[in-house]
């Protein structure tokens, strides 16, 4: 029970800290601006009442936003020395990592919340199909979650926020490139690239196809990166 309390306290502190520093507000404002401009451009009489263009763009911007959101999670505490407080408290590394991850995921949801206004706008002026909208949000959140998990691992491995940002950005680009260009690889590799492809699964969801295997893929992938981050955090004691 108290393990959950510690995880919860870490998650809440993390979420609140995004709003205590400019970074959180800047990210939210820029994302709202970008998606708002895009959404208003797709609004035209007779155009389909969908958020498809918004979701396409958001999935791509998430590639840059998630590393920016996650870069400070552990590296900032390592730099400030507060990681020592966490490391010497009776909280397990898994709980620390999970708390920080949940806090970052919470920020992601907070960032996406204003975009619900577009859904409201569509409802007022047109008759949108809610299926693809729901699965679109699901795809966005699920891919954001796995991106944040990669970013958290990078942040655990580095005391510099810049290298944490670049490390996770390049890892994510590599993962997406692998999926896009995987067909060019020789045999077992192309299959592996497809099997690990995030794009194929987000595309399915964007079309409105909810495949439980696909959802499990994202969750298991996130859990895998979190476990690696917990191991990396624990390994700091052996430095």
């Amino acid at each position: 029970m108290s393990a959950f309390a510690s995880t919860g306290a870490i998650a809440l502190r993390e979420l609140a800290s995004y709003f205590r520093v400019p970074l959180g507000w800047v990210v939210i404002a820029l994302f709202a601006l970008l998606s708002g401009v895009l959404f208003s451009l797709t609004l035209a009489p007779g155009a389909p009442a969908s958020l498809r263009t918004f979701f396409n763009l958001a999935t791509w911007t998430m590639l840059f936003i998630a590393p920016a959101v996650s870069m400070r999670l552990v590296s900032e505490e390592a730099r400030a020395g507060t990681l020592e407080t966490l490391a010497t408290s009776p909280v397990a590394s898994v709980a620390v990592v999970t708390g920080k991850y949940l806090g970052a995921c919470g920020f992601l949801v907070a960032m996406l919340a204003p975009t619900l206004a577009y859904v409201a706008a569509l409802e007022v002026y047109a008759d949108p199909d809610y299926g693809p909208i729901l699965t679109g949000y699901l795809a966005l959140i699920l891919s954001g979650m796995i991106y944040l998990a990669v970013g958290l691992l990078a942040s655990t491995l580095s005391t510099s926020q810049t290298s944490a940002f670049l490390g996770s950005l390049f890892t994510l680009l590599l993962l997406r490139l692998g999926a896009a260009q995987g067909g060019r690889l020789p045999e077992p590799w192309s299959q592996i690239a497809f099997a690990l492809s995030l794009d194929l699964r987000t595309d399915d969801l964007a079309k409105g196809v909810v495949d439980l295997g696909g959802v499990a893929f994202f969750l298991a992938g996130s859990a895998w990166f979190l476990a690696l981050a917990a191991v990396a955090l624990e390994a700091r004691r052996w430095r």
Binding site: G8, R13, T85, T88, P90, R237
Partner: protein, 318 residues
């Protein structure tokens, strides 16, 4: 109680800590004294679970740091050097957060925070952001964080650094109060701090424990023999001959100024009476006779130097 058993920490070929063994007893304040780089912080980091020793083991509050790491971490409240905290948080919410980390049950958290705020004189700043506080207040916030869960052991790394003299005195009083039912271990490189704040001392030099025990006892045990200083009316040669009759005498100096000679001699004990008797026998007048014991400071300064046999050149921050 804290028990360190042959703790060793190596970084490549550099030994930050070498087979350090000592005990910090409950209801006492123990000072870990050493120069910068002597291994104090490394030692405290191992005891608090932040670092794993290369060899050796330790127990904190009866919990082994290697076998039950989380229980051992829960048994100790820790104030790291420079008292890191989250500058964007307010004192009260930071302490509530720390209480949750330290497993204080939710229903007791508010009371624990109030108590820590009161004990560390933080009442006037409880709603301020930590980043806006002075160094002294930030240090107290760290101290409040360390005592929140009322742990049996309190470990503090250089708790006096950055505090003004009045705050240092207040902090000592608080540590004394805490030691009523806890084991308190603090590190310092300032001898007078340890002398004033601690009952026991553990002296570290280049990663080794040079001496440990109650401060007075350590000083007495390691004090070099006293020196006898005398001024007599005789020439240097005759005075030196007088000195040689004393038990275990080792002549340091015999300098003549006019008809008087000033003698400094190391003896195995208090040799004033035997010297006076010998002088009387030869009818040598004495105008000064004193026994000089080395000051506590001198004894500790000698102990703080690494043993001469070890000329290891490595001098790294630890």
């Amino acid at each position: 109680m804290i028990e360190a058993r042959e703790l060793t920490k190596t970084y490549g070929s550099f030994h930050a800590l070498r087979e350090a063994s000592f005990i910090a007893r409950p209801e006492r304040v123990t000072g870990l004294l050493g120069h910068n780089g002597a291994g104090k912080t490394t030692c405290l980091r191992i005891l608090t679970g932040d670092l794993t020793p290369s060899r050796g083991s330790a127990s904190v509050g009866g919990r082994d740091v290697l076998a039950e790491p989380r229980a051992a971490r829960g048994a100790a409240g820790y104030l790291p050097e420079s008292a890191p905290s989250h500058p964007e948080m307010r004192v009260e919410s930071y302490l509530r957060y720390r209480a949750a980390l330290d497993r204080v049950p939710a229903r007791r958290r508010a009371a624990a925070v109030d108590r820590a705020i009161e004990r560390c004189w933080l009442g006037e700043v409880r709603r301020q952001r930590i980043g806006r506080l002075s160094k002294g207040f930030r240090q107290r916030v760290g101290l409040a964080g360390a005592i929140l869960s009322d742990p049996p052991v309190i470990i503090l790394d250089e708790p006096a650094s950055g505090l003004d003299p009045a705050q240092i005195v207040e902090t000592r009083r608080l540590l004394r109060e805490l030691a009523a039912d806890k084991t308190v271990l603090l590190s310092s490189h300032i001898l007078s701090d340890v002398e004033a704040a601690c009952d026991d001392v553990v002296i570290l030099a280049r990663g080794r424990v040079r001496a440990a025990g109650p401060i007075r006892e350590v000083a007495e045990r390691h004090a070099p023999p006293p020196t006898l200083v005398a001024e007599v009316r005789a020439d240097a040669e005759a005075t030196a001959a007088l000195a040689r009759e004393l038990p275990g005498a080792a002549l340091i100096a015999a300098e003549s100024h006019g008809e008087w000679t000033r003698l400094t001699v190391r003896t195995s004990g208090d040799a004033r009476e035997s010297f006076a008797a010998a002088a009387r026998e030869r009818s040598v007048p004495i105008r000064e006779l004193t026994l000089e014991r080395p000051s506590l400071e001198r004894v500790f300064l000698d102990l703080l130097q690494p043993p001469p046999a070890e000329g290891a050149p490595a001098e790294a921050a630890a």
